[in-house]
Amino acid sequence: MIELAVILLIAGLMEGSLGSLVGVGPGIFVVPFLVLVLAVDIRVAVATSLIAVIATSTAAMSAHLDTGLINTRLGMALEIPTTLGAVAGGLVASLLPPAVVAGAFGVVAAATAVLVGCNAEPATERPRSGHADSIHCWEENGRLAGAYFDTRTGSFGHYEVVRVAFGSGVSLVAGVTSGVLGVGGGLLKVPAMTLGMAIPIKVAAATSNFMIGVTALASIAVYFAKGDVDPFLAAPVALGVLTGTLYGSALGLRLSGAALHWILACALAFAAVEMLLKAAG
């Protein structure tokens, strides 16, 4: 029992560090690890993964709430279509063939990985000076804009969110995918935020970390109701993920935007392969 706990704790630690770095959550690593390495039932693995996602989200929120990296207004605005999509996805999950959804997700993730890799040094990453009088707790009151202090470059960055309708559309699709497959929230939203909405990747990753927990909460009730949550499996994974997220969040502050883009591209490629294999049966 102790050996298994240690394995789960270490796995959670690594998955939490990686997932929180770029805001995609540990889900894409937890499910294959539990199913393929430890031969855990898929529903129990997905339930454990959702709890790990909530652990990542809460730890990231705790670490970043006052650093200015999480734009809570942006997160809440995008969470409306995401949770609606997650609920709709959960309701139509039995009608949609999972292989088709997984295949479509795999293709989109692969294309996004290439797109993210090709845009590894976006203009939005270069911070410019802002005026403190226009900034309210690192978010502008009533608007989707804000500022953050980049500890790596030692400079202060200001950004304004554009194409909110586009981001909302992607969030809706991400919610549906999350409801059907149990993954997809951060993987689709972080690229949408960085490439489509002009948000610096550090802000996008931290904001996504906040959002994925809320989306996972919308899906977890059904697993609790059906008795798929195994606390002795979920507890060590969650504890490992909590610690890993705190480390990943601190590490993310020190890495460059380009490095984070490449890590995100690799995570997307990993998810694309995983989903295409799932689609192929």
């Binding site: 989200s57 949770t83 707790c137 202090f149 996972a216 009730a221």
Partner: protein, 123 residues
């Protein structure tokens, strides 16, 4: 409300501007996280230790069985799972204090959707 005001055009401070409401929210989130971690750790450690002792001495009736303290780990998981809803609620309170009503409505909408999801999922 920002606690450190700066004159227009003045150099941007390198320390974060923090509101009291956000600091309180951060404290609540950290307290919930710590409580969940303690409960999950305690549940698992007691289960693991009691399991070992039971294996050595199956007749020991005073040693709690892992099943009997499963509730401790489950409680820890439940506290953790409740935290995103608490965060949304806490942000709604922050925005009420900041009189940013648009985002108060957004938070209420998200909480309503979460409530519907939990109700649908539990059926």
């Amino acid at each position: 409300v920002a606690e450190h005001a700066h004159a227009p055009g003045s150099p941007v401070p390198l320390e974060p501007i923090r509101s009291r409401a956000r600091r309180r929210l951060r404290t609540v989130v950290r307290a919930g996280l710590a409580l969940a971690a303690v409960l999950m750790s305690a549940g698992f450690v007691v289960a693991a230790l009691s399991g070992e002792r039971l294996a050595r001495d199956p007749a020991a009736s005073d040693v709690p069985r892992p099943e009997s303290i499963e509730w401790l780990a489950t409680l820890g998981v439940l506290v953790l799972v409740a935290s995103p809803a608490l965060q949304v609620l806490g942000l709604a309170v922050v925005w009420i204090r900041e009189r940013d009503w648009k985002y108060v409505v957004a938070a209420v909408l998200v909480l309503g959707t979460l409530g519907a999801a939990v109700a649908l999922g539990s059926r």
